[in-house]
Amino acid sequence: MQSLKEQSPLGVFIEHCKKGELAYQICTDDNTPLFFPRVVVPKTGSTNLEWRVSKGLGTVHSTTVVHAAKDKPPHNVALIDVDEGFRMMSRVEDIDPMQVKIGMRVKVRINPGDDKQPPFPVFVPVGGVK
């Protein structure tokens, strides 16, 4: 098991984001993907975990459009089923948020973040539905 004095699951995830990668873990006992990253495998309690880099393709599982404030345009929040078999929250960019539809195919793009926010994955449409 990895030492939390050396690295954390989120720390590794962010390092991958900095390289433009969407990372996830698999349990090597049965190759089950898991997300969010952890130090112990859910249900089984195993610690046999390895990191993988996703191809970055996925499908919109659900979507909403947030009307946060009068002076800001509405923005998309979506749940993405990534092809390797895990689900994550994200948003779909480069498209009118109301046009993001369940089943839409999307591809990851790493948002660089800023001084306060480390880089994080967002998605853009790649055409097609599933």
Binding site: L10, I14, T64, R87, I102, N111, F120
Partner: protein, 384 residues
Amino acid sequence: MSGLQRGSVAVVGAAESDLGQVAPHTSPLDMMAQATRRALDDCGLKLSDIDGIFSATSQVRLSPMALAEYLRMKPDYFDGTIIGGSSFMSHVAHAQGAIQAGLCEVALITYGSTQRSVSRAAASPREYNYYETPYKPFLPASAYALAAARHMHEFGTTREQLAEVAVAARKWALMNPVAWEKEPLTVEQVLKSRMVSYPLTVRDCCLVTDGGGAIILTSATRAKTLRKKPVYVLGVGEAIGHFTISNMPNLTVTAAAESGPKAFKMAGIKPSDVDMLSLYDAFTITPILFLEDLGFCPKGEGGRFVSGGNIAPGGKLAVNTSGGGLSYCHPGMYGLLVMIEAIRQVRGECGQRQVKDCEVTLAHGNGGVLSSQCTVLFGSDATL
């Protein structure tokens, strides 16, 4: 597995604190104390009779201690389980266990919130989560919107059907003198209201009010000696499905599908035996999901089930007769008030909105983002 016995304890006292908007500088503890005093008056017990405290509120992290200090109580047993709006249904289950085990004899369950007065953001600050916060979901509404959107996609549920839930709640609220909302509401008004998180408008979302309440439970034996007709705990079920909406295994099936069967099994009854339901309506999608998951209609049929006034006054199933979190009161963690209406219906205390021959009621609590689900079945002495 459950060692809890059907009907071993009963609710003997139940009361709301002042609701809606309270005076400046009122604390959540003031509201808990006020509701506790009223619940004691309701049953005729004294403050010193209470030997178990169960409480939770987002504004007072260590609320059992704070309440014990406020009322100078020395409880033998205390429980501050906090799992969102369903905390208080969970407290009923835990209080029943404690009373059965002899850890306490008279259990107080209480809640108070001043979230309208101090603002929702101040009352319930959000924890940062790297895997969600950067996307700026408006929580909790956006989580429920994601579930609603998926329900619409899978089952053809419509925004009009969601709106029917709000309209039914409003019709009931107009019969409740202490309800926050006082004006009628139409489906069209719900649809044209300010959008919060598509497909949910502000009228699909619960109120933001101050409020609190208290209930007092004791053994069935002692309950019979007190002022009011006992309302027995026939069944309880607790379940946790997930914590964050990204990790909800299936957006259209909640853990009510686990808590409900546990409660029904303990009670030895079935959904068709229930005369009235009090379902946590944080958003219009939630009663639809709970009607399905608790077995009152097939999965996917919830939208059609609530249509045509079926859960409104005069409909085929009485749901949320208080007016619910959508139109009566929603002080942050609303579960205690969900139960108080179900208790009063068994007692026959609901005046104009009283359900006829009401012997069995179901109170269902929801916490977090469809995360924790707890079900309580209440019954009159005729059900024992």
